[in-house]
């Protein structure tokens, strides 16, 4: 397996790059859209995996930052469309080069605030509190009638790039592919850095880390912020893909979906979230064609996965191949 890794990786990259051509050749135009979703969710899942898989922080509120990223995009667009300004101060925009960084910035800020509270606790309280804060934001956006409340916000067009027509689905796919690749590279760098070494240590034994003179809180908070920024980026891309944002983006079930992707792919692995996101999106779209009650088999599958395997799809494959860790 190990020796095959670079080859598999190269194959994956070629496939992803060739996907637009392939989908045309095989007359599967829907594939591009599906693949775009996979990449966007992969960014979100990778960011969750940083804190959950590497840092051991079980956040059940990650969709909050996904939603914030989406709303930054939607709100800026709505002001751009109406030629008005946010709070009468900040003019709207549809320039993706401004929107995406801003979405990351604001999501990171929210993550800093929420993380500052949540990380005062750990264990089961942390799970409950991240969930509760995400739900708080959900209700906040439901009550924000100015920005569509329950119904959300529509965007007439995607945000624009100066050198590329993002209305073309293939182009937008390539944008997402680039960003997903970049985010993967960032994650890889971070987990292998000194910071990443500390983060992994905190997952394994906080008491040990304190005993060598490393205070957990600031490191966990910074990881939480980075993760929030990743989710914000993904949310902004999703808003562009769907041309729609709604409080549903930060519903608690969405956090559960993100978690499921991380688990499906294998916790604490670099490529896991990408695999997991692909498995989830494909599974979901397949199940929905079979039955409108697709959550039922999904739930059963997840239950079976948790009870009978250890370590998600990757772990399952490892086991099938008889490799012990």
């Amino acid at each position: 397996m190990r020796a095959l890794r670079p080859a598999l990786l190269a194959l994956l990259i070629v496939l992803l790059l060739a996907l637009p051509v392939l989908s045309e050749a095989l007359r599967q135009p829907a594939a591009i859209g599906l693949a775009t979703q996979v990449l966007i969710y992969a960014i979100a899942a990778m960011s969750l995996n940083l804190i959950l898989g590497y840092g051991g922080m079980i956040s059940f509120g990650h969709a909050a930052f996904f939603g914030i990223g989406g709303y930054v995009t939607g709100i800026l667009y709505s002001h751009f469309a109406e030629h008005s300004a946010f709070l009468g101060l900040v003019p709207g925009t549809n320039d993706m080069l401004i929107v995406l960084p801003l979405a990351m910035l604001i999501s990171g800020l929210m993550a800093a605030i929420i993380g500052a509270f949540c990380l005062r606790t750990n264990g089961v309280q942390f799970i409950m509190i991240t969930l509760a804060f995400a739900q708080m934001l959900f209700f906040l956006f439901v009550s924000l009638k100015t920005y569509g409340g329950d119904d959300g916000l529509m965007m007439r067009r995607r945000d624009v790039l100066p050198f590329l027509d993002t209305r073309n689905d293939t182009n937008f796919y390539l944008v997402c592919l680039t960003l997903a690749g970049l985010w993967l590279a960032v994650t890889r760098g971070v987990v292998r850095s000194k910071f990443g070494l500390v983060l992994g240590g905190l997952r394994q034994n906080e008491q040990r880390m304190e005993a060598i003179g490393i205070a957990p809180y600031p490191y966990k908070l910074v990881a939480f912020i980075i993760a929030g920024m990743g989710a914000g980026l993904a949310g902004a891309l999703m808003a562009n893909y769907l041309r729609f944002v709604s409080p549903g983006m930060m519903n608690w079930t969405r956090s559960g979906d993100l978690m499921m992707m991380v688990i499906l792919g294998g916790v604490g692995t670099l490529m896991g979230p990408l695999l997991g996101a692909a498995a989830f999106v494909i599974l979901e779209s397949w199940l929905t064609t079979l039955t409108e009650n697709w959550q039922f088999p999904l739930g059963l599958l997840l239950l079976a996965l948790v009870l009978f395997t250890n370590g998600g799809l990757a772990g399952l494959l490892d086991r099938l191949w008889g490799r012990t860790r």
Binding site: G189, V190, R192, S193, K194, F195, G196, L197, V198, G200, G201, Q204, N205, Q207, R208, M209, E210, A211, I212, G213, I214, A215, Y219, V222
Partner: protein
């Protein structure tokens, strides 16, 4: 002796619910001395170590390191003041390699670890320092092994290597010999002997041979209270100590 003692504990106390685990203990230790704390199971030895290193907060009393009150400092701050410890029940990063465990401690000494993009493996200086600690405790051949795969004795050695990586002025050892084979124990004693010149050691230990071989001064803790403090000979001769260990009426 000139200047204040390296460690000065005055009237420190800790209770858990109804149980008095540490009962107004006072004790002093000079730099360069090996001080051993002995006592029956449940006497409160580990609790005392936890109070010293800051994992537990005392209900009363003060702790001074080099004359400066450190009682209000967190564990992390105390480590950076030169207080380093090992755990009776080993606390290690099981998914990491032996080397990585030590490397983190070295990294912690070098300042903060908010370094995001350079791979941690390329810090040759940190790696060398970590390796030196492993050589010290005799684990250098096991550097690449995952800690989860280590034997109990090796884990104890690793505990010590990590504590050493923090370049302590005062090294707190909580039962470093427990769980070691006779041979490993001997090696550990020899190793601690060799450390005497570099750092000051406060050791909690049940292995009396080791204690008598190492300690300049021995304190006996019973029911959270210091029963007596003295040289090895004094402790051996004490009736009180024998009574405490062997029970009442058995003198």
């Amino acid at each position: 002796m000139n200047g204040p003692p390296l460690l000065k504990v005055s009237g420190i106390a800790k209770r858990f619910d109804g149980l008095v685990a540490t009962d107004h203990v006072s004790l002093e230790q000079n730099a360069g001395e090996v001080h051993a704390l002995i006592g029956p199971n449940g006497a409160g030895k580990s609790t005392f170590v936890n109070l010293l290193c800051g994992s537990l907060r005392p209900d009363a009393g003060t702790i001074k390191l080099d004359g400066a009150d450190i009682g209000h400092l967190s564990t992390v701050e105390r480590v950076h003041r030169g207080l380093s410890r090992t755990f009776q029940m080993t606390q290690l990063l099981l998914d990491y390699s032996v080397l990585e465990n030590v490397q983190l401690a070295v990294q912690s000494q070098a300042g903060h670890s908010f370094r995001f993009f350079k791979s941690a493996r390329y810090d040759a200086k940190a790696m060398a320092a970590a390796m030196a600690c492993l050589v010290r405790v005799g684990l250098c051949e096991r550097a690449k092994v995952r800690v989860a795969d280590l034997a109990q004795g090796e884990r104890k050695q690793l505990e010590l290597a990590i504590a050493l990586a923090a370049k302590p002025r005062l090294l707190l050892l909580d039962e470093p010999m427990a769980g070691l084979s006779a041979l490993d124990s001997q090696n550990m004693v020899a190793l601690l002997q060799s450390l005497k010149t570099e750092t000051t050691i406060f050791i909690v230990e049940h292995d009396m041979n080791a204690v008598f071989a190492l300690a300049d001064r021995i304190s006996v803790l019973v029911n959270g209270r210091i029963l007596m403090s003295g040289t090895a000979a004094e402790v051996k001769a004490s009736d009180d100590v024998r009574r405490a260990y062997l029970g009442e009426g058995d003198v």
